[in-house]
């Protein structure tokens, strides 16, 4: 920030600063307030005079403080503004010319803001305004109206995805004299700019607003067979790191970033490449490339079919016989095609046709029905490529047709490019005359032209075509003896290609050679990727599918009129740029989609040069920041400091502070009353005074009530039978309550128990690790027994326990200390019985002690006990101590309830005394040692 960035609304107020030295002198004359002191010896002082008749000097720092406060006040009153805008009010009508091109989109809001400022200024000055977009120029003379009118229309202004026309617009001739022009430039040099500027300058002053950010543009992506390279271009600038995203639809159909690559512009460089080495599946999905974080049609490169993968359909051999893979006629094709094409394979031609393949491959004679042949022919005529291979059956079929058809041959079969002679020819075999034939070089008009012919490729057998006048035209590859190896014929929009050998290595070693792959590539791949040239486009029509707006956003355009191919051709060849009549977007032809991008590799990206003397704003200026408020606040703060310092000097700071404090206390008696108690729940405090059993709240009132009643019954039983004298049980909320004061939690789990939050899990794990115990009860032993599977509550328990730090569990072993902590128990019924009860599993090396019925399990208390017997219901008593739930029937039921209660007592004993009963196994050994 330099000093020039600071302005004052009322600079004359600053003259008051001159008065500060006077104030300094004045302040020095006023001493601080006297200290009042009680002093009995005052009688001795009466009549004494101060030695220095001048006043006591105020400390310099206090003076400085006061002067600073006043200076801040004066400055604040002068209305300081950081980065003040110096708008010089102009004269006459104002013309706002906006480039509004794709390059303007990068900082469109700033341009609009600048226009808004200009409009506001014009409104204040009462000037008429006209706003002209060069990409969408007015048909006639620009309309000069009140600024209000244009301010309402401002939000509707959008950048266009093309560049302004280069010829001088006609409306410039009709400008009223004295028109001031504000040109919102996109920063790019263009033909015709100078002429327009001259025309505008002819009627009045021209100022230019041109943000200094570099213009970015993407060239269309280039696919070299392995990787997609996208070149980004820009106006010259410093080092710039960008990210280029490849966007497309994921398998779910949602658009997302499929891949990204770094774009790094070196200092001064105008080009940067991003390389995407995408797997074909992914590359097929890419719909566009976009510079991350950039806006504008120039930073979006739409992709079209040139990046797509071909879909090749293989019709499987329909024989049920299982043949060796290497002998399968399709094996080599599969292997050759798979790396570069999307191979689908089916035995059903209907399925293949439904998949809409680009190529269908038939090996030998698949034995098509009449209907299938018709469908296939129809597909070929629609533009499909049918690739066929010969084989024994084709040769045989030809023979049979020749024998039975009376010399007709396959002349009627449109699915073969040429008529075949009956039977095949075998060369180089044991019974034949010559060596295997090699290939002749490919003729010029052949798609294979240029491929090297390896010498070791030999053809041992082939099917032969009927010689005919057009055979040579159909032949695209031949053997050294001139017999055709590959023939091709057009059928409608599509074509049929026949290899006169088998697709496997039976008749030739061609499928084993690299040439085979290259030939397939030439046949299948090269049919895609090349952009149609002007000749191809002539007479075609292209339906826009999606069009791009100036910001690079796509919208559906199915409802727009189709574009003739003649219009498309110059844009594709780069002869002209897209414009209003041909918007950038995706255009679909009969079998091909073509992307038209706002910018291509030839789009000129030179920074605009303005003639000397043109006022160019770059917009780097920051917004106005009024500083008066800050200065007022600073003055107030300094004055408060001054007050405190004065009090301190007078020795009354403490008293004042105490007064303020007392006022504060009086104002907030509640806060004072609450402070000492803090946030300790009195309930929890009460729980610390006694052993208190607690039930975890589940949110189900019925379950919670029963759980609490069950713990009440258990507490009563403990009180009556043992030396444990628990307090009233409590319900705890694991999310909010402190758990550490409870030795034992009963947690009934229902199918819809809420999952604890992460904090609650932390708390629970801490609780379990520090010696707490949780009894999980899914209360559905009966249901589990009947259904024999995991119940809903059981699954919920698994979900809940997933977040808990629970050791491996095992069903309670017969010698577990739980069976003898108070009562001797063998099973643990609750309201139900038979449900397995799980505890932490014993260590694997537990030894059975000599002469003892129990294993030596002295360490560790299981942190959890998991069961499903609905103990709480069996324990539950109401306020009068009467059991609440029925358990079993008659005396058996009462016995079961008693056993449940005993389990409860054992469990609490286990919780409280740990494995102490297990230690009893040592008693004989101890007695023995004592006896000695």
């Amino acid at each position: 920030m330099n000093l020039a960035a600071l302005g004052f609304a009322a600079p004359w107020v600053l003259w008051a600063l001159v008065a500060l030295p006077i104030l300094w002198w004045l302040l020095r004359a006023v001493p601080p307030a006297p200290v009042r002191r009680r002093f009995p010896g005052v009688a001795l002082l009466l009549g004494l005079r101060d030695k220095d008749p001048e006043s006591q000097r105020t400390p310099w720092w206090l003076l400085l403080l006061r002067v600073a406060a006043l200076a801040a006040l004066i400055l604040a009153l002068a209305g300081p503004v950081l980065n003040p805008s110096r708008v010089v009010p102009g004269q006459g009508p104002l013309l706002v010319v906006m480039d509004a091109s794709w390059a303007s989109a990068r900082d469109w809001p700033r341009r609009i803001e600048r226009v808004t400022q200009a409009l506001e200024a014009a409104q204040r000055a009462g000037r008429t305004v006209s706003v002209v977009e060069l990409t969408d120029p007015p048909a006639v003379a620009p309309e000069f109206r009140a600024a209000d009118h244009w301010r309402e229309r401002l939000p509707g202004l959008m950048p266009r995805p093309w560049s302004p026309a280069s010829d001088l617009p006609a409306w410039t001739a009709d400008l009223p004299p004295g028109t001031e022009t504000l040109w919102i430039s996109d920063g790019l040099a263009r033909d015709g700019r100078a002429a327009l500027l001259a025309a505008l300058a002819g009627s009045g002053p021209v100022s230019v607003f041109e943000p200094a950010t570099p213009v970015l543009a993407l060239a269309p992506p280039v696919f070299d067979g392995q990787a997609v390279t996208v070149t980004a271009r820009r106006t010259p600038g410093g080092v710039q790191e960008l990210t280029l995203n490849a966007l497309g639809r994921d398998p779910a159909g949602a658009e997302r970033v499929l891949d990204h690559a770094a774009l790094r512009f070196a200092a001064g460089a105008v080009n940067a490449d991003a390389r995407f080495d995408l797997p074909p599946e992914l590359r097929n999905r890419v719909t566009r490339f976009q510079i991350d974080g950039a806006r504008g049609a120039g930073t979006v490169a739409l992709t079209d079919d040139s990046l797509q993968r071909r879909k090749v359909a293989l019709l499987s051999v329909r024989e049920g016989s299982e043949r060796l893979a290497l002998l399968s006629p399709l094996h080599y094709l599969r292997e050759a095609l798979r790396p570069s094409a999307d191979v689908i394979e089916s035995a059903s031609l209907d399925d293949l046709l439904l998949a809409g393949p680009d190529v269908i491959v038939l090996a030998d004679m698949p034995g098509l029905t009449e209907g299938e042949s018709q469908a296939l022919l129809h597909w070929v005529e629609e533009g499909g490529l049918l690739l066929r291979f010969a084989g024994p059956r084709m040769a045989g079929a030809g023979a049979s047709a020749a024998l039975g058809g009376g010399g007709g041959g396959q002349q009627d079969d449109p699915l073969l490019p040429v008529r075949l002679r009956a039977g095949g020819r075998t060369v180089g075999g044991a019974m034949s005359w010559g060596d295997p034939r090699s290939l002749a070089p490919f003729p010029d008009q052949s798609p294979f032209v240029g491929l090297p012919v390896p010498a070791d490729v030999g053809i041992r057998a082939q099917v032969l075509a009927q010689p005919g006048p057009d055979l040579a035209a159909h032949t695209i590859a031949a053997l050294a003896d001139g017999t055709p190896l590959v023939t091709r014929a057009a059928r409608g929009a599509g074509q049929v290609v026949l290899f006169h050998v088998t697709a496997n290595a039976e008749w030739s070693n061609l499928p084993l050679s690299g040439l085979f792959v290259q030939m397939l590539d030439r046949l299948a791949i090269s049919t895609r990727g090349a952009r149609p040239d002007a000749g191809d486009l002539a007479g075609t029509h292209w339906q826009p599918q999606e069009v791009m707006d100036g910001f690079g956003l796509l919208s559906r355009a199915d409802d727009r009129a189709a574009v003739p191919g003649e219009d498309l051709a110059p844009v594709l060849s780069g002869e002209r740029q897209p414009g209003p009549d041909l918007q950038p977007g995706l255009y679909a032809g009969t079998a091909l989609r073509i992307a038209v991008n706002a910018t291509d590799a030839q789009t000129p990206l030179t920074p605009a040069q303005w003639p000397l003397g043109t006022v160019v704003e770059t917009g780097a200026r920051q917004a106005e920041v009024p500083l008066a408020g800050y200065l007022f606040a600073a003055a107030a703060a300094v004055l408060i400091l001054d007050a405190l310092a004065t009090l301190a000097l007078g020795g009354r700071l403490l008293r004042a502070a105490m007064l303020v404090f007392a006022l504060g206390l009086a104002a907030s008696p509640r806060a004072q009353a609450q402070a000492p108690t803090g946030d300790v729940d009195p309930r929890i405090l009460q729980a610390t005074e006694n052993v208190v059993l607690a039930a975890v709240a589940t949110g189900d009132p019925q379950v919670d009530a029963v759980a609490l009643a069950g713990l009440r019954g258990l507490s009563d039983a403990l009180y009556a039978r043992s030396s444990v004298e628990p307090g009233d049980p409590m319900r705890v909320d694991i999310e909010t309550d402190e758990l550490s004061v409870f030795p034992f939690l009963y947690w009934p789990v229902t199918a819809d128990s809420p999952l604890p939050s992460a904090q609650a899990y932390d708390k629970l794990n801490r609780y379990l690790r520090t010696g707490g115990m949780i009894l999980f009860d899914t209360r559905d032993a009966e249901q589990a027994r009947l259904t024999g599977g995991t119940t809903a509550a059981g699954r919920r328990l698994q979900d809940i326990a997933a977040g808990l730090d629970i050791p491996p569990l095992e069903p309670v072993p017969a010698d577990h200390v739980l069976t003898r902590t108070f009562y001797l128990l063998t099973d643990f019924p609750g309201r139900y019985q038979g449900g397995t009860v799980w505890v932490e599993s014993a260590p694997a090396d537990a030894q059975q002690a000599e002469g003892m019925p129990f294993r030596n399990l002295n360490d560790g208390v299981s942190p959890v006990v998991v069961g499903s017997n609905d103990w709480a219901s069996a324990w539950a008593v109401d306020e009068q101590g009467v059991p609440m739930a029925q358990v079993g029937r008659g005396t058996t039921g009462e016995r079961q309830r008693e056993m449940a209660m005993r389990f409860g007592v054992n469990l609490i004993m286990y919780v409280l005394s740990g494995n102490y009963k297990s230690d009893q196994v040592h008693v004989p050994a101890l007695l023995e040692r004592l006896g000695q």
Binding site: P34, V35, F39, P40
Partner: protein, 293 residues
Amino acid sequence: MNPTGPALRRSAEALSGALPPLLVAAEHLANSVLPGAHGRRRAGSGAEFWQFRPVHAGDAASRIDWRRSARGDDLFVREREWQAARAVTLWVDDGAAMAFSADKNRPTKARHARLLALALALVLLRGGERVGLAEADLAPRAGRAQADLLAMALADESVAGGEHGAVDLHAAPVGGHVVLFSDFLGDMAPVEAALALAAARSMRGILVQVLDPVEEGFPFDGRTRFESMSGHLSHETLRASDLRSAYRDRLAARKDRLAALARQTGWHATTLHTDRAPALGLLWLYQALGGQK
């Protein structure tokens, strides 16, 4: 002032509440001085044995010391030493100025003075002297009961209206001793008048100036407004430190004047400070009193 029943009782309780501490402290202090009756080194009507002498004619038979006489043939009379009990009148300034203490850990000058006075009274009473206060109904008497009365009177720390109390020695017995406790920072005219009266009635005594250390040192600085304890007097200065030497000079002059007064009338004068142990002061007082034959 006519206190109602509850108010009277309340003040009585406050009084008796303060009494034991003062009494205990004073007794504790008094124990540090071993008193004795002032033997006059001649036969008299004291309690102490002085000498045996042969019986003269005219001696009452009851005066013969038969135990001594039985050892020989002559009759002896036991003579007792003549002992004189003095009347000591104490006065403690009850003005507002005495209720000053610059530090809350130090006793006020009044309290220090009252402690000294009571301790001195106890010592004197133990020695058989008659001690009283310069008030109407507390004329010097001997005995333990007088000690309680004095303690009650001295425990009353209520402040008189003025800055300094006025001493009235009209009721003091002629030829007795007087001990005046004050800071003597106020108007000296009443003090001089009292001393003149005392000299006229052949009373002797001690002027005890009790001062707080702050009054001695004047450790003040900056702009200060000094106010007397009752608020009647005030003096404002812009720089208190400038006044320090002047104040000290005036204080020294005041002390000199006290000393001169004492010299003129054969009195003693001393200055005691509230931050010093009172025992030293008491010992000095006792000896000074005992030395005035």
